[in-house]
Amino acid sequence: MIGQLVDGVSWLLLLAGAAFVIIGAFGMLRFPDFYTRLHPAGLTDTMGAGLILLGLLLQTGAAIVAIKLLIIAVFLLFTSPTSSHATARAALAAGLRPWQNHNAGGGEPGKDSGT
């Protein structure tokens, strides 16, 4: 009974994680420029990977496997922002201008805080 409950929760987490990965991929296709596409990519790294790891955590019987999954989660928390920052900074250094939403009254055209 408990086993079935854990299995069900685990499947819910896995499906929710997969949904976040798909939404992240969809956002990367849909959003207009490089900088805005970084944000949905973050969905895949954080909730997508996190929920899938939680779901897998409930599937493992052995503590040693659970610890490895937790260590993967910790590594992701350090590496994914570092790589996002590196790509964004490279784009800024290369002179890529951020897209602005003029229809919704975003910022003033052609003006940003970039140096």
Partner: protein, 180 residues
């Protein structure tokens, strides 16, 4: 180059202020590596334990040669405060995830991206990096550039930008850094 010099100067002060003790940091690194090795291997035979001890000693020796054993390479001084910060950060990440997912799925494009400078009140480089990584880890905001005291942020919409500008994350990271 002037900035770089200022940062390096700040580093030395950090070292003094945080009570830089190479032996303590070295022992901390040994313990962390040993725990990591035991948890990843799960074997407790004499042969494998001694191989593990040898690899820990080798790694610490390399780290010493590379001059990595200090308050930045082995940030023991923020361990407990850092662990208390993590649950708050994870909850922020969950909220931001749901917001960005809604914007991705909404039929009309509800994003108003902008670039802005956020002030960071952390006193150490480590604290500022922690703050910048927290910003990037939260979907909807990405830290694009880092200067002493200022982080340039790209935000997906006004709400995400205000979430950074209200300064709560800045305060919490500064609290992690100060506490020892």
């Amino acid at each position: 180059m002037q900035d770089r010099g200022a940062v390096a100067g700040r580093n030395n002060q950090d070292g003094v202020r945080l009570g830089y003790r190479p032996v303590v940091h070295g022992i901390g690194l040994c313990l962390a590596l040993a725990a990591c090795w035991l948890l990843l291997s799960g074997h407790f035979q004499i042969l494998l334990l001694s191989l593990g001890a040898a690899s820990v000693a080798f790694c610490v020796w390399i780290a010493m040669r590379m001059d990595l054993i200090d308050h930045e390479g082995v940030p023991m001084q923020i361990t407990w405060a850092g662990l208390r910060y993590v649950p708050w950060l994870l909850w922020e990440i969950v909220k931001a995830n749901i917001d960005v997912a809604q914007r991705v799925l909404s039929p009309s494009l509800t994003i108003t991206p902008r670039m802005f400078d956020a002030l960071s009140s952390q006193k150490t480089d480590l604290g500022q990096v922690l703050y910048a990584n927290s910003i990037t880890l939260t979907p909807g905001t990405v830290a694009v550039d880092l200067r002493p005291g200022v982080i340039q942020v790209h935000a997906l919409n006004d709400g995400a930008a205000e979430g950074i500008l209200d300064g709560e994350m800045d305060r919490r990271v500064a609290a992690v850094e100060v506490r020892q």
